[in-house]
């Protein structure tokens, strides 16, 4: 805590400027590249899993390079399949979702949106990035230790995870726990930074209710993370000791309780879902007003709903454990809180819908992705009601219905919302416009194939198809569904291949794209209206003063249809 952001000099050496940078904008981009890089791995793993499910125990094209004993000539054994499901989940939630939505968007946008020149603790910020980078390396290294990578599922249920004899995985799982612990540390540091920055470094006039909603979502996420992750850190330490020292916190024959791990995991796990979800929705909240040219509907209602949902998220964790053997007496209370959490989220979705009404909607790529997020996220939201209902969950728990449900919440949020954000803020970040035509191709391709992958999963889930099984053809009752499995796999391949359009567009635009103006979307928030493109070291040439809320579009009696936050409105009466 020895150095502080204000007025730190612009570094000149390459290493200080691009690698060990303490500039929040560079760190944000570093998070962005880390998350995109990890997303490639997560996607590749999804491909291997899907191939195995469609054509079990056949050689997977493009898996021939994987060394033994992970795979044998492209055929993956069940041990490696279990490692894939574990690492796919871990990577996508902790190493893609969080670094992209909190690390990249949060770091890049929060100081700019509140008018600050940097984060409150720039060095801490740099440390949190390098901590998650270390965590990523530890995680990837776990594939190559003896016994292979962690294979107890991304939830790591004890005692399967608590004693190496059950899985045959030794250090792979220890490294998995350590990678998670490092990741948690990284985001705790990040959260401390975000909160301190927002509380202490807003420019004059930037009251809490004039903050862009993205900032609200980021700080709510930081608080949720901070208040939920502690017990799981404690649990992770205990799990690691069970594995290495031989204690028995989660092992019944040594006096432990395996259900405890589930409680700790899900006490964190459910708020964690919202930690990832809120910043994604925050991006949508920024994009909607810009391309509907009207204020977002119900700013304060959205803020209050978010806080209510965040608070409720601490009271629902046992809905992941309805069939785990917890006392049936406490199941219904959790079922009720779970279903009630749909109310604050419904309010937010209604606010989005109302924000479209009366607008003047421009269908740019970021707007398309934002709409796509809302339209598909609703499916994820409503299917949560099925899981939340205790009796229905008895049947659909641990089936593909659940898999489809959480992919319908997290995929729209992390990827569709993430893409919306990237297409939207790319000009500010890299000073170039992304190609619109390719962007639209990417949008339609991604949205359609995504639905082709996950809607059929609801059907096979309703048919009783268990998740996490290596070869569905083992079961007679699953055989009639195999055609659907094959269809899902082809759709997944199409979904993954379609991302090449994005990768091409991203890098091509970075070098060859049309030069972006300071405020190409005619937006009102400070990062667009008050900062140059791309923002220099220190962000603003003069400290802006804020005069009104963030979404003053189409105000009556004004010359233009957008009133930047730092420009006083004209005195023409409405």
């Amino acid at each position: 805590m020895s150095e502080h952001g204000n007025g730190h000099a612009e570094p000149t050496s390459f290493l200080r400027k691009y690698v060990f940078s303490i500039d929040h904008k560079v760190i944000g981009k570093q998070y962005l590249f880390l998350s995109l890089f990890m997303a490639l791995f997560g996607g590749l793993m999804a491909y291997y899993m899907r191939w195995q499910l469609a054509w079990p125990e056949t050689a997977i094209p493009g898996a021939g390079w994987i060394p033994e004993p992970m795979a044998f000539g492209g055929i993956i054994p069940p041990e490696f399949y279990n490692a894939l499901i574990t690492l796919h989940g871990t990577i996508m939630v902790f190493f893609v979702g969080m670094p992209l939505l909190l690390g990249a968007l949060g770091n890049y946008l929060v100081p700019l949106m509140i008018g600050a020149d940097d984060m409150a603790f720039p060095r801490l910020n740099m440390m949190s990035f390098w901590t998650i980078t270390t965590a990523s390396l530890v995680l990837m290294a776990s594939f190559f230790v003896e016994g292979g990578a962690a294979s107890a599922g991304w939830t790591g249920y004890a005692p399967l995870s608590a004693d190496p004899i059950h899985t045959g995985v030794g250090w792979g799982l220890n490294l998995w726990i350590m990678a998670l612990a490092l990741e948690f540390t990284s985001f705790l540091m990040g959260g401390i930074n975000f909160l301190t920055t927002v509380v202490t470094m807003r420019v004059p006039g930037m009251t809490m209710f004039r903050l862009p909603l993205m900032v609200w979502m980021q700080i709510t996420a930081a608080v949720l993370f901070m208040l939920s992750v502690g017990p799981l850190i404690a649990g992770a330490i205990l799990l690691l000791l069970d594995r290495t020292v031989g204690t028995g916190f989660f092992i019944p024959e040594r006096g432990g309780d395996p259900l405890l791990w589930q409680h700790l995991f899900w006490f964190f796990g459910h708020p964690e879902v919202y930690v990832v979800l809120l910043p994604g929705l925050g991006a949508i909240m920024e994009i909607l007003p810009v391309f509907t040219r009207r204020p977002i509907f119900g700013y304060k209602t959205i803020v209050y709903s978010t806080i209510v949902a965040g608070a409720l998220s601490f009271l629902v964790w046992a809905h992941h454990m309805f069939v785990s053997g917890i006392d049936p007496q406490i199941v219904m209370p959790f079922s009720i809180t779970t279903i009630l959490i749909s109310v604050p989220f419904a309010v937010i979705i209604f606010a989005f819908m109302a924000s479209l009404w009366g607008g003047s909607i421009r269908f740019t790529t970021p707007m398309l992705f934002a709409i796509g997020t809302i339209v598909t996220f609703i499916i994820g939201g409503v299917t949560g009601i099925f899981n939340g209902s205790a009796p229905v969950d008895i049947f659909i728990h641990d089936t593909y219905f659940v898999v489809a449900h959480f992919h319908f919440t997290l995929f729209p949020d992390v990827f569709l919302g993430g893409f919306a954000a990237l297409y939207f803020w790319f000009p500010k970040m890299f000073g170039k416009m992304m190609n619109e035509t390719l962007g639209k191709v990417h949008f339609w391709w991604t949205t359609i194939t995504f639905n082709m992958v996950f809607i059929p999963m609801f059907l096979i889930g309703a048919g009783g198809h268990m998740r996490r099984i290596y070869n569905p053809l083992q079961y007679d009752f699953l055989k009639p569904m195999q055609d659907i499995n094959i269809f899902i796999t082809w759709s997944a391949v199409a979904l993954l291949v379609g991302q090449l359009v994005f990768i091409f567009n991203f890098f091509w635009s970075m070098y060859r794209g049309k030069k972006a103006e300071d405020n190409p979307w005619e937006a009102t928030t400070l990062e667009w209206a008050a900062a140059p493109t791309p923002p220099p070291h220190g962000n603003f040439e003069t400290v802006p003063t804020v005069y009104h809320g963030p979404y003053e579009y189409s105000c009556p009696g004004q010359e233009t249809d957008w009133q930047p936050q730092h420009v006083e409105k004209g005195s023409v009466a409405a």
Partner: protein, 196 residues
């Protein structure tokens, strides 16, 4: 908009940021230790009699001594902070040194305890109580070590004469942290030493 422009500080002093950062850090620490304590209490409630027979072998005397030592060190760091506020550099140095000595004393007593217990056959693998005992006091001990490093750094700065003019607020942040370490012990002491 009718709202008046709020007077938010755009260039907050380092103190504001430092203090707030420390509070948020402590909030996440509280959740971690809170997690341990909650787990411990749940196990304790579920276990019944076997627990007491294990828990009665801890040394309540040494635990009590350590409680006194740590509480006193909390007082001395406050004294150090007061001395700095009054520009009394000599006594600031002295109180930091005393705090440091007390922290080492705490670890010393803890080490003797561990040694006695392990030589009597009570290791982390002896039973679930002992697992908890070693994990929780061990983690707390690590926090004490962290505190020693931080207070030691303050002491060196105080001797070199660099702990003034803008940097002296660090004593306050470290003091906050040190109180937290103390409070954790206040929870651990009855849970571990008086639970039979």
């Amino acid at each position: 908009m009718s709202e008046a422009i709020a007077m938010t500080e755009h260039q907050p002093t380092h103190e504001v940021k430092g203090r707030m950062g420390m509070w948020w850090f402590l909030a996440s620490e509280i959740m971690t230790f809170g997690g341990f304590i909650a787990i411990y209490v749940l196990y304790r409630m579920a276990s019944g009699g076997a627990w007491s027979s294990m828990a009665e072998h801890v040394s309540t005397l040494m635990g009590t001594i350590n409680t006194v030592v740590l509480l006193t060190s909390s007082l001395t760091i406050v004294k150090a902070y007061e001395a700095i506020d009054k520009q009394d550099r000599k006594s600031a140095q002295r109180f930091l040194l005393i705090t440091l000595i007390l922290a080492f004393a705490f670890l010393g007593v803890k080490a003797i305890e561990y040694a006695t217990e392990i030589s009597n056959g009570y290791t982390p693998l002896t039973g679930i109580f002992w697992s908890f005992y070693f994990v929780m006091t061990g983690l707390h001990g690590l926090h004490v070590v962290g505190g020693i490093v931080a207070i030691g750094a303050l002491y060196i700065m105080a001797i070199r004469g660099t702990l003034w003019n803008g940097t002296q607020k660090r004593v306050e942040y470290i003091g906050l942290y040190w109180h937290f370490v103390d409070i954790v012990w206040i929870f651990l002491f009855p849970l571990l030493y008086l639970s039979y």
